[in-house]
Symmetry: C2
Subunit: 277 residues, 2 copies
């Protein structure tokens, strides 16, 4: 969702207005075949499916649902205060994008309400925080896997660029295996300015790049760290890299050019935690 799309309408509203307050409850959406889409139009409403992703979404008080579809087998996954529709597996499949492996549960959701960087990062005590900054990682499988690892290593937030990140979708949520509803995902307009803000908050900003100046262990610091990862292929943009305190690489064999971005991220999270540990 671009900022342009979000600013004027009621979809943005104040960040806090969305917490715990259902919206559009007076106008429930009737079942429609045109909802068969992973990412349905400018509302950002989308089908989230699969047991891990759905359980995490159902446990997230910030997540709003428009429909909850289950099978006889998955009914028990849904809290008693919600009213799911029970359908045969095939009927659920027909509402979802082709080849979606829904495992008997699908939720028609709104994207999560927007988060503010300083507030989000402030929820964890300073000193050992990890913030992950994604500079135009556009593949939802990659971002999903990064969210999953970020949650696994207790990251305080994952920052993405509003116009150059995948929208919330079933594919992103499935790849994140629940982490989309666990790790705070902060969308910002400008990555370079966000790095300035993180600098003011005392974060040590490490740019991960295959031609980085030092090894990751040398670049790591004991305090709060912001780890900045670039796009598949293109890597970090120059301006983004210039806004970091240090650039680091993961030492790999010459026979292969680079690691997959989610694999590089997982290694970096592990190494940063190990050094702090």
């Amino acid at each position: 969702m671009s900022p342009k799309e979000r600013k004027p309408g009621p979809k943005v509203a104040g960040r806090k207005e969305h917490f715990g307050r259902p919206r559009q409850r007076d106008a429930p959406r009737p079942p429609e075949r045109r909802e068969r889409s992973d990412q349905a139009g400018s509302s950002g409403r989308f089908w989230l499916y699969g047991t891990h992703a759905a359980k995490a979404a159902l446990a997230n008080p910030r997540r709003k649902f428009h429909r909850i579809l289950v099978t006889e087998r998955t009914r028990d996954l849904v809290p008693a205060n919600l009213s799911p529709e029970t359908l045969p597996p095939d009927a659920i499949s027909r509402l979802l994008p082709q080849a979606s492996v829904h495992q008997g549960i699908a939720l028609l959701c709104d994207p999560l309400p927007a988060l503010n960087l300083e507030d989000t990062v402030g929820l964890k005590p300073p000193g050992g925080r990890l913030v992950v900054v994604l500079d135009q990682v556009t593949d939802p499988h990659n971002e999903g896997a990064i969210l999953r690892s970020a949650a696994a290593f207790g990251a305080a937030a994952v920052v993405v660029q509003d116009r150059h990140a995948p929208p919330e979708s079933g594919v992103l949520a499935k790849a994140a295996s629940g982490a989309l509803d666990v790790v705070p995902r902060v969308a910002v307009v400008n990555i370079a300015r966000t790095l300035e803000r993180l600098g003011r908050l005392g974060f040590w900003r490490i740019a991960l790049a295959s031609d980085g100046d030092t090894t990751l262990s040398e670049a790591a610091a004991k305090g709060d760290v912001a780890l900045v990862l670039g796009a598949e292929g293109a890597g970090l943009r120059r301006l983004v890299r210039e806004h970091c305190d240090v650039s680091a690489h993961i030492a790999i064999a010459d026979s292969i050019g680079s690691l997959n971005v989610s694999n590089a991220a997982a290694i970096a999270f592990y190494e940063l935690r190990r050094i702090k540990g």
Copy 2:
């Protein structure tokens, strides 16, 4: 490809018979629309596409091609002794599975000839070798990313189970970003027996599992290591785990169940290399 399919026909033949020797050169296959498939029938013949994957395949003397399609822009990627067909990008797209991002190059290939474990592992000096064993990792994106990381960290081989691994395909090759033609991939019939063979070769066998007994650093050893990774979801099978010397886990937060298997693999490769280094 199952062993049943491979044993009788000329496709298996002796392992060495395939090295550097083109086959079926007397009967070039005419262009056919039914080749539009990622993995074409029992021959295993498939379209490999994308610049990284194609460059690595063209540089691999063990890889045999039936057709080489390029655009005006990618002609120079093909060695002078081969004769590519130059086509518009759209015409290439029409021959490939839908939504294949071919970047102007596609190769109709045979799968690589089978490799023997002992011979393959014997190509590297003993003492610091890493062999990766995949127990029924079936998703080609995951296996591809694992191959890519295995190549990046200089693994001696990646072992997969013949009937429970993805066949060679464009998706696997693209996810591997060239590593399918760089890291030796050994298909075996039985993983437990393969672990016995690796044990006899002196490999220290580490089972990676979320409930593993020790941390990865504690489980690691200085000599040759076989790292065994289980399927997405199901994890390692009991019998496979019992054939390992030790089980190890990667310490992660409680809020998320597990890491993506390719992310766990990347961390493990990094950690094993770090400890040896």
